[in-house]
């Protein structure tokens, strides 16, 4: 009973041309797949290549970054072989994306209603009038209060959490098969974070939308995803069911990540627990060699946290 994966990324490499005609691998030969309706998490520190991976999947890499090898098979077709026109038709309609910065990701000079309505005009051939009516519904579905009035609001009149809801409404407007969420809650207040995550989870479960969640925060991933890939220095170093990862991490880097996660009640002995800090060697990507990547990372006790 094998299920066809919705997205199957095979041996993907994204590179940055460097001086002397060499290529720096930003993402190096990674493979993972996402099943229909599944939530898959990519976790890793900043600079590990997880955001670049997501942009490569949706085809929005900015020059001079480019996908140099591998396949991105979505519903049976390799997206790398698609024409830019076909890719555009897919983007937003079948694969949608939410970005990290709710403050700047919306056009400040257009009403949120208009920005949602664009989706219906672009992908469903609606007139602007119909699209605006649909936008009210879309706004209601992400639980923005008083959607009939809020469609006329401009982004600056909304809070960060509300704007991110608008982004979700835009992304889910056409019921995509895959939602890519790149650090969707990082810029938000902690209390709002939980609400927005819950909203994404509920809406996607209800619609059967698969999610590729990018985060540096294992806690966020653990709440949402069935499976998780741990990225480090452009590679996926470990891929597991979320539950297994937490109970029995294999890779030293993952152990480090888990150690860096503050948890109440779990490791409180002798009245205090220690947060583990990972020595980062990722600053200079060009010096990074294959050997270094997989060499056990030094773990050391970092800041002490008193309960």
């Amino acid at each position: 009973m094998t299920v066809q994966p919705l997205l199957d990324v095979k041996n993907l490499t994204v590179s940055l041309p460097a001086a002397g005609g060499r290529q720096h691998g930003i993402v190096r030969d990674i493979s993972f797949n996402i099943l229909p309706g599944e939530a898959y998490g990519l976790v890793g520190e900043s600079g590990s290549g997880k955001s670049v991976t997501s942009l490569a999947v949706i085809g929005l890499l900015k020059k001079p970054l480019r996908t140099s090898a591998g396949q991105i098979v979505f519903k049976g077709t390799d997206l790398r072989t698609l024409s830019s026109r076909a890719m555009r038709r897919l983007r937003g309609d079948r694969v949608a994306m939410i970005f990290q910065e709710p403050m700047t990701a919306l056009n400040p000079l257009a009403t949120v209603g208009r920005q949602i309505a664009e989706m219906f005009v672009l992908h469903q051939g609606k007139t602007w009038k119909e699209a605006h009516e649909l936008a009210v519904g879309a706004l209601a579905s992400v639980r923005v209060p008083a959607p009939e009035q809020r469609v006329h609001a401009y982004p600056h009149q909304m809070s960060g959490g509300m704007r991110q809801r608008v982004m979700i409404a835009i992304a889910l407007a056409c019921n995509p098969d895959l939602l890519i969420a790149d650090e969707p809650t990082t810029a938000l207040d902690v209390t709002v974070q939980a609400e927005v995550l819950k909203l994404i989870q509920e809406l996607c479960t209800a619609r059967g939308t698969a999610v590729l969640l990018i985060s540096h925060d294992l806690g966020v991933i653990a709440n949402m995803c069935q499976r998780v890939g741990v990225m480090y220095a452009g590679k996926i170093v470990e891929e597991r069911d979320t539950y297994e990862l937490f109970s029995d991490p294999w890779h030293d880097y993952t152990k480090g990540l888990l150690g860096a996660l503050p948890r109440l009640g779990s490791r409180q002995r002798h009245g205090r627990s220690r947060l583990v800090d990972i020595d980062s060697i990722i600053d200079d990507r060009s010096r990074l060699t294959e050997r270094l990547c997989f060499e056990p990372r030094k773990l050391r006790a970092g800041a002490e946290v008193r309960p």
Binding site: I58, L60, R88, R89, L90, R91, G92, D93, A96, M97, F99, E101, T104, A105, L106, N107, P108, L109, A110, E118, M119, L122, H123, Y154, H156, M167, I170
Partner: protein, 311 residues
């Protein structure tokens, strides 16, 4: 919007009063009296009795603060005094000429915007291309060009050699007479608009919301039309407003060159013969005009950008 308009209009008042004060000080405190400066040119002998009579006639024997009060009061009644040269009310002389100036300034700005904005826009969409490089070289050249020299060359080529256009004058106020002065005057704002438009569009293209627009599956064309254009417009409109100021400075020279009967050439002629009330009045009108245009621009700005009205 109405409250914003009223607020902006009220904000003009202190600036106008300060400008009036500044002009008043320049012409009243700095050396000697009006009458003395008239006579310094040697057109009249410095006859003390005559000077005193003139001083009284123009109210120059009163203390400064009183004269400034009177001056402001007169301005409020749209009375800018009487020309030393023609003995006509200054408002009358300005009124006769201001429309020609307005026509020239607007034509020049239209020319600049219609050519400069698209050039900058296209250059920004193809950064580094030959078109972009050529436009930017053209822009810096345009900004370095003495406009009256360009006007002289255009006049030589199109009027005197080819005979296609009239070389100078207002004619019957028709379009043909407007072409050369407007193109000449429009050159600097054209170059500047091309430059700022390019910089502004490049800025917008790097914004996060443009990436969002692409993620929606929009074609480049639609991204530009739906999201880039309006955002870039804010900067373009501001530049146009600011450029009106230096445009009116440059207009003085261009009007003189083409014998255009506007307030610019009136100002130059009045400066040459030290017709102080006319100089004062003309400058005040030019400044007022600049302020009005900038207020209008602010209103347009507020209409484009919803964030302004609140701030």
């Amino acid at each position: 919007m109405l409250r914003f308009t009223i607020r902006r209009l009220l904000q003009m008042i202190p600036t106008v009063i300060t400008v009036a004060l500044l002009i008043f000080i320049i012409f009243s405190v700095v050396p000697g009296s009006f009458a003395a400066s008239m006579m310094a040119d040697g057109r009249m002998d410095a006859d003390p009795a005559l000077m005193e009579r003139m001083n009284r006639e123009f109210g120059l024997d009163k203390p400064l603060y009183e004269r400034f009060g009177q001056y402001l009061y007169d301005i409020a009644r749209f009375d800018l005094g009487t020309s030393f040269r023609t003995r006509l009310p200054v408002t009358h002389m300005i009124n006769e000429r201001v429309w020609a100036s307005l026509k020239l300034a607007i034509a020049a700005m239209l020319f600049a915007a219609v050519i400069g904005v698209p050039l900058g826009f296209i250059a920004a969409l193809r950064p580094g291309s030959i078109f972009d490089t050529a436009t930017m070289i053209g822009a810096v050249s345009g900004l370095s060009m003495p406009q009256f020299w360009l006007g002289l060359l255009l006049m030589y080529l199109f009027a005197l050699q080819l005979g296609w256009l009239p070389s100078f004058g207002y004619g019957d106020g028709g379009f043909m007479h407007l072409i050369l002065p407007a193109i000449t005057l429009g050159l600097t704002p054209l170059a500047l608009l091309a430059r700022t438009t390019r910089a502004g569009v490049l800025d917008v293209l790097n914004a996060d919301y443009i990436r969002t627009a692409h993620s929606k599956g929009m074609s480049n064309q639609k991204v530009v039309r739906w999201h880039v254009a309006r955002n870039a417009l804010v900067l373009i409109v501001t530049t146009i407003g600011l450029q009106f100021g230096s445009l009116m400075g440059a207009a003085v020279v261009i009007e003189k060159l083409f014998s255009w009967p506007g307030i610019g050439s009136l100002l130059v002629d009045s400066v040459a013969v030290r017709d102080i009330p006319t100089v004062q009045g003309t400058i005040l009108v030019i400044v007022l005009w600049f302020l009005v245009i900038n207020t209008l621009i602010d209103l347009v700005y507020a209409a484009i950008d919803p964030r302004i009205k609140q701030g």
